[in-house]
Symmetry: C2
Subunit: 375 residues, 2 copies
Amino acid sequence: MKLTIKKDVLLEGLNKVSKAISTKNLIPVLSGIKFELSKDRLILTASDNDITIQTYILNDQENKMKVEKQGSIIIQGKYVLDIVRKLPDEYINIEVVDELKILIYTANSEFTLNGISEKEYPNINLEKNKKPILLNNKVFKEIVMQTSFAASTDEAKPVLTGINFNIVGNILECNSTDSYRLARKIVNLKEFYEENYNVVIPSKNIVEFSRIMGESDEDIAIHIFNSKILFEYENILFQSRLINGTYPNTSNLMPQESFLNVTVNLDEFYSVIDRASILTSDREKNIVTLETSDQTLILRSSSAEIGRVEEKMNIEKNNSENIKISFSAKYMMEALKSFSNEKVEIKFVGEVKPILLKDPNGDSLTQLVLPIRTY
Amino acid sequence: MKLTIKKDVLLEGLNKVSKAISTKNLIPVLSGIKFELSKDRLILTASDNDITIQTYILNDQENKMKVEKQGSIIIQGKYVLDIVRKLPDEYINIEVVDELKILIYTANSEFTLNGISEKEYPNINLEKNKKPILLNNKVFKEIVMQTSFAASTDEAKPVLTGINFNIVGNILECNSTDSYRLARKIVNLKEFYEENYNVVIPSKNIVEFSRIMGESDEDIAIHIFNSKILFEYENILFQSRLINGTYPNTSNLMPQESFLNVTVNLDEFYSVIDRASILTSDREKNIVTLETSDQTLILRSSSAEIGRVEEKMNIEKNNSENIKISFSAKYMMEALKSFSNEKVEIKFVGEVKPILLKDPNGDSLTQLVLPIRTY
């Protein structure tokens, strides 16, 4: 393998795949990045067995690279990334000599790295479907932002550490829950799909993928299989394992009727909860108590050792009913962050029933927070 | 105690003293901030026994505060800071009721905190000298930036965890060393002082003080005593303990004559060392080897497992001598960061002698890095 390549272009590619470099040293070859150079492109691949990321750089007319000899090699990911990042030159030369020695050089710098034969790299099948699900990049990022925080981080309940993607016809329903709160997002797909899908994608993997994507308005093609899912976006392939097991039926949790709907200014409500939780402790889930009285909402919390707080704000109500209910300030604030309009609607079903949050102008997103009994 | 005070002004004061709030819970009262309200000012004090910070807010004509009842109280530092930061109002009311209950309130928010009697606060004497040492704020910050990094973090050698301030007449000499490198800065004071001082100030405390100071061009008044030092700057008093023990005589370390002086571009030399150290490990002090050959400087490092690197750059030399010497890339880079001119002069005394760094245009700063034997 021998090539000259524009530093910025190579660095961008390395940055994309580097998120999949294994930091555990169980399989040494997985701490490397696979370089595959053919006449028309350089393919970069990294994998930690949980996720695989692949990208390519085209040998097109833009003078990004010059291929002198085709070939493949595995280079230690951490070092090649650091070297390319710190080289000041516009172009970098990479050459394999003596089979497994990699030279990375410019006018004044020369690195010689020990490489690994590509034969030792696991065979990773980045399989595609004939008819993948198409989803707009921005819509996908919004789904991830609005649901991933509600997934569990407790590996004892593996299925709850994922986001449930449920596709029926042209409807995609995404759910995530850690059994204390639930985030649900419903999206209309542009096309109708014959096959139904119901899969659970590890939340941390989908968050990782949403971070390496650009800001373009292009579609993501999603290829779903029994035990893996492949996202295809621009020149990136991102594959994740799926979580085994049946996702709980969250529709039971979703209350049908509320006895009181309260509409609040989103930022003000967030700040009021933020202040009311100053004296609460993480250990006790930052419990605050909400009470309505006419057009006023009162938030209280107290701690015998530290003191107590009372916050008031004006609200709009749909009837004269009132409520007194306690919940985790932390969970409520995380749920509120997923909304972006000026107002948010809070639906109360009962003192021991879930609290529902909705955008008054849209029905696609529902956040649900369970109350906490304080007596 | 009862007052109304502008939020921003109070927050600024609380932020300044908060750096001294004790986070260890050995003496509960030290996790609080002392509020002392008189007709003409509010004094805020915090102390962790190692450092004490005091500031005041004047009750002047600028409508910053309204004093309704004088008095003193200790308020939990962490909570009062969070409350004041998060209140959206322009003015905040603070009132002590039932002796030890503190009300902090605005139109829609009311916090009730448990306070501590000021009688329980330790008596801290912020003593001043008749003729303090005067030092320009910017010069002081420069001293701290150029010397603090070289102090030891090893508490087993307490005297080396400090910066040595040595004042004779109108000369201030500052030294810091962890016995692997040395930073020396010499400053001409504006005045001549009859009394000589030779003290060791804890490096982390002096760094903390330099962080809370503003950017003004005003002088700092330094009051030195046997076991403590008080810095006075604008409306801030910052007191630190001094470290007991005699600071080593660092003049012995400072070589008198070099056999070779090399002048390099500062940024380029820094980058070359940075790249040469990519393959080195922290555990082994990131050893790199420097070699000169005519007007070329070559930096090398290698690791049997990972590979090797060779970097070249052009230099100016004062004679035809050459050197080959190894040192810690980390220590050299930290020393280089303390210079700000385009060029830096490197003086070589011998292969097993300290390497000296100087600004070619100034003599006030010297950085010394010990070589490491690699054979």
